[in-house]
Every structure is written in structure tokens, then in C-alpha cells.
Symmetry: D3
């Protein structure tokens, strides 16, 4: 996942979201609104919330959701050791069936760390 | 999902089904037969059955199954507003983890609507 | 599930909902509000929406959710033949792992039919 | 799970199956027929098939299905060491979320072994 | 979940764990050992790890696992507002199918808060 | 899945495993170690264990995991009729939602059989 690939991921996500919004009824729009609000600062900091979203996405095995939260974790300043412990809990709870997703999660994380190192 | 891409989807599905049938034992063949019969006219019309299959596929998060039922819903004359309400129930029951699949579902639906408009 | 047992189910559900609302933040309250709105009359009639909720609940294998939608289907005047076809699609999509839930779904439905017959 | 409790489990299962068959349409009846045929002697012996059904039930976390296959494994002469290795694979693949089901699986197995010892 | 009911939950868990350990092979024993180590102090504090375990358990819908992490969250001094935000993320990610588990999670939490208030 | 594609699958898996190991903490490393040990000769032969892993992967619908176990089943000398019966149990337990994965499983198996025939 090079910077280009992350931009590509974000661009495709944005493009598809526009199709969703074009068709969405009020219920779907409200769901998307709830979704964007849930990870904001509250009793728990955004960093913890993104880790919660990441682990939930790992045990439910959704690559797109995992990649999104990996990017958000990087933006929120999660350290590699913290991310790995969170993923480790997801692996343990969700079992070896999560391993292919864990691999792709760490591949994305690795690319982000390289970029951060370059910047 | 251009018309070409739908034809491609159907062609690949057909090709793989032939491999399945080449290896399938009686049990698997009977399962496939049950599957094709389940969505036929009965106490419920095919349109409702396809919506049931679509929502079940969305909450279980299977892109191939979703795309198949999206195509079938279009063939059965489901209206956009009906499809969106059904997807909205799937989103609510299945949660934000279904969103990437919802995006691809509506992308496919959008392509089919454009084709229908062209025809 | 005698009438008493249905009343008991509803009473326990109500009691637990009160605990939820006592602790719920705005996000959870809005989610519950979305949930109650999703099954109302729209492009699709409530009857179809309840069948969608039922099949989604069956393939995700949640007994409480199934029982709730079974009761709602009965209230919306779903016929046995319609309900059985919807459950049959859920069984086919979700597999034999749904059978214990299918059994309890039809047990509840059977009790409701006896009550309706008595009334 | 004393012998009485196993008898109770089987009796309840039988009772609910009768309700299912009272309402079932042809599709559901055929599904149940396929289900009973799938575990019969074939290229694989019933013992292996029951272990396959058990592990599938464990990773999908269905207590009733697990108990059923535990009873069948005992009837097919599966040894404790074999059963435990199969469950261990299910635990690894499915993760710690399967542990409560693993506990109940081994509780049932333990009761069956005591009965077999008594007989 | 009165104090007695929590003690009961713990006692039953302990009793079943003894049966597991009586049958467990080395692989299962090592898995249980990994499981107990994963939630210890590390780069992330135990409090955050318990919230991760709780949300993973909620989206995978395992009542026993949820109750266990609810008890552990209480022991680690998680505040109600923090717990509710974490559960809210689980509800959003996992959808309305998690609601029955959310109800029971907050029922258990409510009982623990009453006990803590009494002590 | 030509021989090249299998080599490609293995190469990508190896490459990603190296990224995992670069970031992995002790818990994740131990989990991977447990995973590689679980399928070794024991009370059950590796062939049976691979079939168990295959069926668990099919009902949980993980294409990478399925392909891995398909390759291992071929290496362990599983016959087509045995493989098909195992997949048939997975199809029945997991339902029609597994069909797209079943198709890809048999496509991979078919390629391996052609290669074995060529060798």
C-alpha cells in the first residue's frame, strides 16, 4: 500500500460513497452520520476508539474496514507496539481465520510507517 | 459494473459452476437444485424472495451473492426505493461492517439502472 | 411459547430496554430510534420488512431477534405459507447451522397460531 | 449432561422437529433429508464426517449442533484423544470466542464417557 | 446479575474449566495460557485491552465472553461513560443483531454498579 | 490456479508472513507456532486434520484459508471423492452463502489435479 495506493483507496471509497448518497434514503443517511460521530472525542479518546473499531473489524474480517481504521490509527498517533497488541487480541479472540486479514493489516501499517519515516 | 462486467460476472460464474458440477456428488447437486428452486413463485412472489436473498447476503457479507441478487432484483422489476429500503434494513441489522458491501451493491445497482435507461 | 410466555418475553425485553436507556448515550439512543423507524411503511410494506428482518435474524442466528420478528410477522398478518417460504430461504442461505433456530422460530409461530385460533 | 439430560435433549429435539415437519414445505423437507444423508458412509467414514460436523459447529458456535455431533461422535466410537484434537483445531481456527462452547462440548463428552464407563 | 449470580457465573466457569483441563492436550493448554497473557499490562493498559475484548465479544455476540469482560472492566475501574461508548461502537459496527447482547451486557454492568455502590 | 499461480500464492503468503514476523510480539509469534503444530500427526492423521481445517475455513468463508488447506489436502493425498464429501458437509452446514467459496475451492483443486496428472 504505497502512498498512491492509500490515495487510491480513499478515492475509490469517496467515489462509492457518492453513489451511496445518491440512492440513500433518510435511514441510511442517518446511519452514516451516526458512524462518523461514533469515533469522535468523548469519554474515550479517538485513539482508543479507533483501536476498538480496528479490533471489531479484524474479528469480523472486513479488509476495507481494517484498512480504514489502520489509516485512522496512524493519523491518531498509535504506536506500533500498541497497534500490534490490539491486533494480537483480535487474533486471539477471532482465531487463525483472521490471519490473512492480520497480514494485510500489517502490510498497510508497514507502508504507512515507511511513509511517516520518509516525511 | 458495465454491461460487459455483468456479462463477465455471469460468464465466470457459469465457468466455475461447470467445474463444481464436474466434481459434485449427489448431495452437492441436490443442494444446488434446492437453491435454484427456492426463489421461484410460491406463496411469496420472486421479487420478495430476491429481496430476502439480498438482505441475507448483505448481513452475511458475501459480495458475489449480493451481486447475483442485485441482478435478479433488477430482472424482477424491483424499484430503486424498494431496493434501498431493503438494503437499509440489512445495514441496520448487520451494522457498519456491511458498508463496504453496501457500496458495491449500490454501484452494481447504479450500473444496471444506467443500462436499463439506455435500453 | 404460550401467551404467558410471549407476555414474559415482551416484559423482559421492556425491562432490559429501560436499563439500556438509563445508561445509553446519544449515539445508542439514535441507533435505537433508527431501528424502530426502519420497519415502518415505506416503499415496502411493513409485512415485507418484517420478513426481511426475520430472515436476516435467522441467518445471523439470534433467537431473541427471530422471536421478535415472528411476533411482528403475526401482527402484520403474514400467512403460514409465506412465513415458511421466508424461513426456507434463510435455511438455504444460512445452512443447517440455522436449524436449531428454525425449530424455535416455528415453535413460537405455532403457539401464536394456536392463540389466534383461540381468539 | 446426565443420561436423563441426553434423553431430554433428544426428546426436545424430536418434539421440535415434529413442529417443523408440520409446517415445512417441500424445500425445507428436502433440506432436512439432505442433512440426514450427508453424514452416512461414503468415501469418508461416518466417524470422520461427524468430526467435520463437530468442528464446523464449534467454529460457527452453535451449542445444539455441537451437542448433537458430540453424541454422534460417541456413538461412532471416536476416542477422547481424537475428539480433543478436533476440538483443538476448532479452537485455533475459531479463536477464544469458541471457548464457552468448547467448555460445554467437553462437559457433554465427559458425561458420555462416564455413562459408557458405567455401562 | 446479583453478587450471588456473579459468583455463580464464576463458579460454573471454574468448574467447566476443570473439565477442559482434564481433557485438554498441549495445544489447548497453550491456547488457554496465551489467552490469559493477552490482557496483561503491556504497551496498552489492561483497561484498554478489556474494552477491546468486550467490543470483540459484542460484535461476535458471545454472552459468556461479554459478561466476563464486563466483570473485568469493572475490576479495572472503567467508568460507565467509557463502557457505554465502547459498547456503542460495538453496536454500530455489529448492528441491531447485537442489541439483545447489549441489553444483557448493561444489565450485568448495572448490577455491578449497584454492588460497587453498596460496598 | 496454474502452478505459477500456486507459487505466486505461496510467495505472497511468505512475503506477508515476513512483515507479520517483523512486527509480531511474543503473543502473536506463539499463536503462529500453535497454528503450525495443530495439523501435525497426532491421534488424528494430518489428512483428517487438513479436512477439518478445510471445512472450518469453508463455513467461515475465508478464501485464503480454503486455498491453503486445499493445497495441503493435495499434498496429504486426499482423494477427490473424499475432498468433495468434506466440502459437501461444509456446504450443508454453512449454506448457499458458501457457494462462491466452494466454486473457488474446486477451481483450485481442479488445477492441482491437472498438475498431478501432468507430473
Amino acid at each position: 500500500m504505497s502512498k498512491g495506493s492509500i490515495e487510491e483507496f480513499k478515492a475509490e471509497r469517496e467515489e462509492l460513497n457518492q453513489i451511496v448518497m445518491q440512492y440513500a434514503d433518510l435511514g441510511i443517511k442517518r446511519f452514516f452520520s451516526l458512524d462518523s460521530q461514533a469515533y469522535r472525542e468523548g469519554a474515550l479518546p479517538p485513539k482508543t476508539k479507533e483501536l476498538l473499531g480496528l479490533v471489531a473489524s479484524l474479528v469480523l474480517r472486513c479488509d476495507d474496514c481494517i484498512k480504514y481504521h489502520i489509516i485512522r490509527c496512524d493519523e491518531e498517533g498509535v504506536a506500533s507496539a500498541e497497534l500490534v497488541e490490539a491486533l494480537g487480541i483480535g487474533l486471539l479472540v477471532g482465531g487463525s481465520i483472521t490471519i490473512p486479514h492480520l497480514r494485510r493489516a500489517l502490510q498497510a501499517w508497514d507502508e504507512l510507517q515507511r511513509e511517516d519515516g520518509d516525511a
